[in-house]
Structure formats: structure tokens, C-alpha cells
């Protein structure tokens, strides 16, 4: 069944792509919202991911189970370089009416708390090295296992393991800093200082 689906994707069967869209667009969207913190941008990322999937369809592995890792790998690439992807697919993108989509911040009050948490989470993720952040998002937030994350990113499993443990360690450090005694803005400044130091030395 899955083999058949992969073969159909590789052959450019639109119905197979329609099925994959139905099955996975929601997960790709959730991944993109969490990565960007922006509802509208996430929709563009979903579209770009599927356009890229169509363009790169011959790269689907002939065998394997769910194609979600492959899609999230493409989404990761799109998120890395939205500008290039958007440029390539601008004609299709321009058919979407994004102006009707509110940003999370504009949503009604009962969503405000979620929105605040999302903003905080996105800000925390930004403190990670990009490669570590991608692995953390794929494994922890989108639930891929090591092998699937390795497939998505095209790197060895050992690399996934070490990036993930570095991401977790770094996030724990940041959490401890958050919990440390603080006054007003001072704590943010400390984290920022720690981060830029680390970034400069890497």
C-alpha cells in the first residue's frame, strides 16, 4: 500500500499528491506555525512545501512507511530558505488569499494564552543553533523518531542523537535561567548575553 503510494508520488500521480495533502497538510501546518509563530506564514510554508514536494517528487525513496518525514524534511528546507522557495513558486502562491487569515496575535481572547505561549516557545527555540532547533522540532514537537528525523534531514542517526541532546541541554539551561531570581528586564538580558557569547564562540 505504502509502496504503491510512493511509486505513484514518484510517477507524478496528482491523486496520490491529493491524498498526501489530505493526510499530512495539518501536521505540516502545525510544524510551520510552531516554527514561525505566524499563522499566515505557516500557510505559505504549507503551500511551498507541497509545491516543492511536487517538484522534487523523484527524490521520494521508493520504499518506507509514512511519507511524513520526507514532507517535514522539505518543510524544514522551506523554513530555512523561504525566500528562494517563494520566488520559485510565486505564481501559485499569489492565488492564495492570505489577507483573510489573521495572525495568531489577532485572534480572540481565549486563544491569547496559547498565542503567548507559542511566542515564548518560538523565542526560546531561536536561542538554539539552527541545526539543533530543526532536530528538536522534528523529534519532540512533531514526534518523528531518530530514523525518521535522519531521513527528513538527510543526516546520520548519530547526528540526530547528538543534536537533540544538545538542544535539550541548552533548553534546560535556559529554563533554569528563567526560574532564577530576577527583576523586570534583567533576566532577558542575561539570557541574551549568554546566547550571544555562545554564538560568537562556536
Amino acid at each position: 500500500m505504502t509502496h504503491t503510494l510512493r511509486a505513484r508520488l514518484r510517477a507524478g500521480d496528482p491523486a496520490a499528491f491529493g491524498q498526501v495533502f489530505d493526510d499530512h497538510a495539518g501536521q505540516v501546518h502545525r510544524h510551520a506555525v510552531r516554527a514561525t509563530g505566524s499563522w499566515a506564514t505557516a500557510e505559505d510554508v504549507v503551500s511551498l512545501t507541497f509545491f516543492e514536494a511536487w517538484r522534487l517528487r523523484e527524490n521520494v525513496r521508493p520504499d518506507g512507511d509514512s511519507v511524513l518525514p520526507w514532507l517535514l524534511g522539505i518543510a524544514t528546507n522551506v523554513l530555512r530558505n523561504t525566500r528562494r522557495a517563494a520566488r520559485r513558486h510565486s505564481a501559485a502562491l499569489s492565488r492564495l488569499r492570505i489577507e483573510t487569515v489573521p495572525d495568531l496575535a489577532d485572534e480572540v481572547t481565549d486563544r491569547m494564552r496559547d498565542a503567548d505561549r507559542l511566542t515564548a516557545a518560538v523565542a526560546a527555540l531561536k536561542r538554539l543553533r539552527p541545526a539543533d532547533r530543526e532536530v528538536f522540532m522534528l523529534c519532540v514537537w512533531s514526534g518523528l523518531d531518530y530514523a525518521q528525523a535522519a531521513e527528513a534531514l538527510g543526516v546520520p542517526i548519530g547526528t540526530i542523537r547528538s543534536r537533540l541532546s544538545r538542544a535539550r541541554a541548552r533548553l534546560r539551561d535556559l529554563t533554569e535561567m528563567e526560574l532564577a531570581p530576577r527583576r523586570g528586564q534583567v533576566q532577558g538580558g542575561r539570557i541574551k548575553a549568554a546566547r550571544s557569547h555562545q554564538e560568537e564562540t562556536r
Partner: protein
Amino acid sequence: MNEMPGREPLPAPTVPDLSADRHRELKDVFMQTITEAPQRTAARRRWALIIAPATVATVAAVAIGAVTLTGPKANDASNAIAPTVASDSGDDAGPLLERIAFTAAAQPGTTVGADKFVYVHSKVAFAGQPKGRGSARLDPVHDREIWLPQSKGVTAQFRENGKMVRIPDVTPNSAYANLPTDPDALLKRVYKEGEVFSKNGAGPDANAFQYIGGAVSESLLPPKVTAALYRVAAKIPGVQRVKDSVDAAGRHGVAVGRTDQKGERHVWIFDARTFAFLGERSYLVKDMEWGKAGMLTGTTAVLKRGVVDKVGQLPR
């Protein structure tokens, strides 16, 4: 699944699902794009594709239109098909790129403040792939304006076909403007940065070449950086001189190009007298599932660059 040492330090934030309506709308656009029926017969369509930029570029429209009536010839420099499509020219691009770099280095630089945006106005068209076994289709050539922040963390926006699109987390202009000018360091760097494109299957040399293309096309760089990028491009294996090429605005110029391992050639076009960057062009050099040799896959022309205070403003 993954062994979890204690609680996750940062659990996934709750986000609302993509609504059924939006799911349907996004899917409709996706399905339309990939299944779109060709509008003309196959034989005509291929030529329609290649001619598309010329019909929009007012200067060249008449001349190139005439060429289409007599049919394209591979060596006719004025038709929109690549003049050297059969094989790589074999001409070393080194001397030309050195000339281009030398001229670029002598240009007056523009300072871009940390809180400013770089504005670039260009004409662009790229090919999409409408159907499993059908040919790709080039968009109509259209205007593209981008407001690219100088600094990281600021959202860029671009406008095409009347629609503004936001790009958070964009690679800022400074990422290119601050590239090292030391040739060895820069060469290493462009290969490293080119890894972003590794999924395209075009190969590391092609990816490095593509990275440089992106760095020089939509940006405003210190003259020294621009020059260093062209000198580094000359060191990438397979970069060759292309006798004549034409940008998306119909401007002809001297050009350098590189054919990737999949069979697509990417060309940068420069003014033949001033050696200023005019635009890019890419086309297939061999028949592929989705297009024949000579088919245009992308064309651009940079018309204006400048610095502005905020998105939406135009440089004076």
C-alpha cells in the same frame, strides 16, 4: 519512540488546527497548480513558453516575435533559446569574471544602515511543472519588488502580482554583505552555504554557484564583496563563458553559466560594456521528463536597487 530523560524542557505549544475551509482552499490551489491542463497544443506550447518573456519585454518583443515565425535555430543568438544548448562552450569564464569583478570593485558603494531595507525591483518568471508527464510552464514575466532587511530577525516582504508576502526569518542583506572577501575563506563559505540546496540533487559545485547567484541578484553588497564573489565563482569547476544571453527585460549581454549534473544550465548575464549584473536565466540542456532541451526554466532581470527606511517605500 524517543527515550525521554525526564520531562521535555520545552513541550510543544498548543496551536489551533488548520481549519477545514483553509485546508480545502490550500489544497485546491495545490491541485490546480499540479494538474492544470495545457492551454495549447504540445508543439505550440513549448514555443509559447520560450517566447513568454519576450512578449512582456517591450523592447525585444518585435524582434524576437519575428524570430518565432521563422523557427528557432540553436545558433541564433537573438532567439530566446540558449545559443549554446547542444554542449558547454568549453570557454573558460575566468578572464570575463575577473573583468566583471574588477569593474564591480571600482563602483561606489552604498552604505546600508542596520535598520534599513534593501529594495530590489526585478522582472522574473520561473517554470512550474503542471503535470506528471507534461512539459513545465513558465509564468508570465512579471514584476517583483522585495524589501529585504539589512539585519537579522526583521521580516522581509515581497510584492508580486499585486500581492504582498511576508517572509519572517529571512536571510538578511547583511548575511551576504558581511561575507569574507578573502578568496580562500569565501570559497569555503559559499560551498558551505550552498548545502542549503543539497536536496535539489544538482551537486555541490552547482549549489555553490546557485548560492552566489542568490547573493548577487537580490541584495546590495559592498563592491569588494561583489568582486570577491565573482572571483570565487571563477574557481568553481564547470563555470564557463556564454557568448550571448538575454535577461527577462530583453537586455542582451555577456554571460557566464554552469550546467548542473541534472542537465539544467544557470546563466548570469552582464552588460557587455559596463559589466553590471543584468539578470539570470536558466534552461534545460537535455530532454527531461518535464521538458525538452532548450526549455527556459527561469528568467530574471534586476531593474533597480536601493536603500529605504521601511517596507513599501521606493528609493529616490
